[in-house]
Subunit: 456 residues, 2 copies
């Protein structure tokens, strides 16, 4: 381990394997353990919101006939699946709306690929909440660190980093949960290197879901194979013909070990208050603030001018034909925030996109680049029919690292998502309580059972 | 389709999807259809030979509890698995000894990842031998063409091309077998782009098996998802952030369409007569010829001098500690060929490696580079204790494209492999006949059932 830390370029896999196998729960700072629960609460809601989405239906239709005994929950659904199949379905659902969490330095969404296989395995074997939570945390940390090591070249080449690094995180987490040795965990990570896949080109398509789902499913597979004696090459990650160089050109392998176990990448995790492109979040914040302050009726608005860093326009200024467009549209984001006073899952649904009032309002919005505004900031000016100009400037959006969502805000987000998944008030409150007390649960089973399809 | 052929760089996926969905069986030359059967006979033997290998046992131990209803055969074994799990186990077994077929231009072993999912799906659904054979052929062609498009940079970067291109071939083949449309087949290929994984660094390890097994399993998965409506980005393969550029730097996309359906890459497929590195094959041929001509007793041999192109030494001159070393060792290959008069699976087994007589003979072998010999050639000189020097030179090894294995030689290879898998004479003869007549079979089931564990 010491040798590995001193030369991570030569011993990256071994170092991470030891970390995964040995890092003790009692050395995890309380705030970080709480962050892991926040991440789970958030991701459960994201999966519940789309539990009956056609994309999830289709995945279940394919996997159910191929699934072994249903030891694991498909979140928000009546079906039970084998742990690998459940990992796939839950991971792709968790990430489907891009409403899950983000490690901003790498743009990895760490919880979707890592938490589902941990929970499916823990459910199948009746393991404790504390064990699952610790395994998840270590796995998510491994995913983010691998992302750091290959960023920014990896994503820029076309690799979908949530999927490609997610499989390492899933393998690490499952290795820990299975109680694998350092050497076996090292093997699991090396086997993950033979399974890292997913391309950026396909992000606006269902193939994205496949990449994220596979990361979860194959990470679990890697750990199970390592437990049965499968090994990878010692330098499967860091070697001259290993994954980091193949997919990352000139990886910064030092990022894997730097402060490992002391400084936590997962501590930087952020949560979205709105299910749309993160650059749009300050725009929505500004619109909601203006609406709250001035009670603007749509007819009273003559026009809306949005200014932001050029990145905002590059990512968000486009025509809206469907809900995928809407989720990256300045015009749609402004319209729903000002007209409906909300920007949740429903406001980015096909129905909202097709709503004539929203479509008409989108046409009132103009976007302009403004170099004087920093990345992450936006200024919104509403011009009223009465001739007034009302302005709001947001420098740090809700949910950014500077303004993280509070626990209560995450609960509210979960409540809305759970309602979309058909869960009523009492069930929702119980689920929230179960997540906050997950580390006290002797088994994850009651929580997972409660996350299956609601009693209707 | 025409537009696509004229500009494969822009329409690669669409072109391949149309090819897979539409190319008619009656346009396949008879020799090529026969080649597909040769490939199957060969790969079945390779899988049978290792059906009880610990690596196959371990994969079955992991997958069986996660497997759905056992609709498909695990070759040479009593277990039945769901088609995705069977695809994994059979593909990894087929490739385990590196004794399967080779498309030499790309070093892809095309049959291992492509045939198992086709056969598992055909078995599960009771489809005909002709349908399976045609689907397999189209899929293998797609795999080889993708390999051409990204070679040689892809492998040189560290991507294990059998796995990474194999998943496209498996997806294509399963798409055809499922009767998907051109658009759906295009989607299946695009989904495969989100699943292409496997690193060269791990070739001397079990992680290699995982990559090859996953190619088969995930190719089937891609086709099943496409059938349920999943799509990828239109340019998932050829786009600026698609797979070919991410993994191949500057792909030669023209190689995908050039002569498609007229000139067949799969027609170049070759089969190994010996389960070891292909550069060692002319050395073994020469030794067997010398032994046959001179009846050399081991004690009568004072020394053996092997000369070959520097590539032979680069790949084959190494110490032998285990069977993996033996399979790439000039010294071991010479020893078994001259001492035992054979170079089959048993001669590269751990028992043969540890045999004191073989170990002693290995020490008698010297290897020298000789620039005057072309790649693929070798000269062997046996110096006898009586002072004679007996020489044999082989320019093209058995099994090379210039000296392909005959059907009878492939049958003999199959017979030996099947015996290792526990099959007796009558069963072996029937299996061979079933493969040669596969295109006349109303269902692949009788053949697959016959390939399951032998009656003992």
């Amino acid at each position: 381990m010491e040798r590995a830390r001193q030369d991570p370029a030569a011993f990256a896999g071994q170092m991470l394997g030891d970390f995964v196998a040995r890092f003790p729960p009692q050395e995890v700072p309380a705030a970080l353990r709480h962050e892991a629960k926040r991440a789970l609460l958030n991701v459960f809601g994201c999966a519940l919101a789309v539990a009956r989405d056609p994309a999830v239906d289709a995945a279940v239709r394919v996997l159910r006939p191929l699934s072994g005994p249903g030891a694991a929950t498909a979140i928000g659904r009546p079906e039970r699946l084998d742990p690998m199949a459940a990992s796939f379905v839950n991971a792709m659902a968790a990430n489907l709306l891009d409403y899950d969490d983000t490690h901003l330095d790498t743009v990895i969404h760490p919880t979707a690929p890592v938490a589902p296989p941990v929970l499916a395995l823990a459910e199948a074997r009746g393991l404790s909440g504390a064990a699952a939570l610790h395994a998840f945390l270590l796995g998510a940390e491994v995913a983010c660190r691998l992302g750091n090591a290959v960023s920014p070249g990896h994503y820029a080449r076309g690799w979908h980093i949530t999927a490609t690094c997610g499989v390492f995180g899933a393998a690490a987490a499952c290795a820990r949960l299975l109680g694998l040795s350092g050497a076996q965990s090292w093997s699991a990570l090396g086997i993950a290197a033979s399974q890292a896949a997913g391309v950026v080109e396909s992000l606006p398509s269902a193939a994205k879901n496949v990449g994220v789902g596979n990361a979860a499913r194959n990470g679990l597979f890697a750990a199970l194979l390592a437990q049965q004696g499968y090994a990878a090459a010692p330098a499967a990650i860091e070697g001259p013909l290993g994954w980091a160089r193949a997919a990352g050109d000139e990886p910064r392998l030092a990022a894997l070990g730097d402060g490992l176990g002391e400084r936590w990448e997962f501590g930087k995790n952020t949560y979205k208050p709105y299910p749309c492109g993160i650059v749009l979040h300050p725009v929505i914040d500004a619109c909601l603030a203006l609406r709250a302050a001035h009670g603007l009726a749509p007819d009273a608005v003559a026009g809306v001018r949005v200014r932001g860093h050029p990145l905002l326009l590059a990512r968000g200024d486009r025509a809206v034909e469907n809900e995928r467009d809407a989720r990256v549209s300045i015009h749609h984001s402004v319209a729903v925030a000002l007209v409906l006073g909300a920007a949740g899952v429903r406001e980015f649904s096909p129905a909202a996109v097709a709503d004539p009032a929203i479509a008409a309002f989108r046409a009132k919005v103009r976007a302009e680049a403004d170099d004087s505004l920093p990345v992450g900031a936006a200024a919104v000016t509403v011009e009223t029919t009465g001739g007034a100009a009302l302005q709001a400037v947001v420098t740090h959006a809700r949910g950014s690292r500077e303004r993280p969502l509070s626990d209560r805000e995450l609960e509210a987000k979960f409540e809305e998502n759970a309602r979309l998944g058909g869960f009523g008030g009492r069930d929702v409150a119980r689920l929230i309580a179960q997540v906050w007390r997950l580390d006290e649960a002797d088994s994850v089973r009651p929580l997972l059972r409660a996350l299956s399809a609601p009693r209707s």
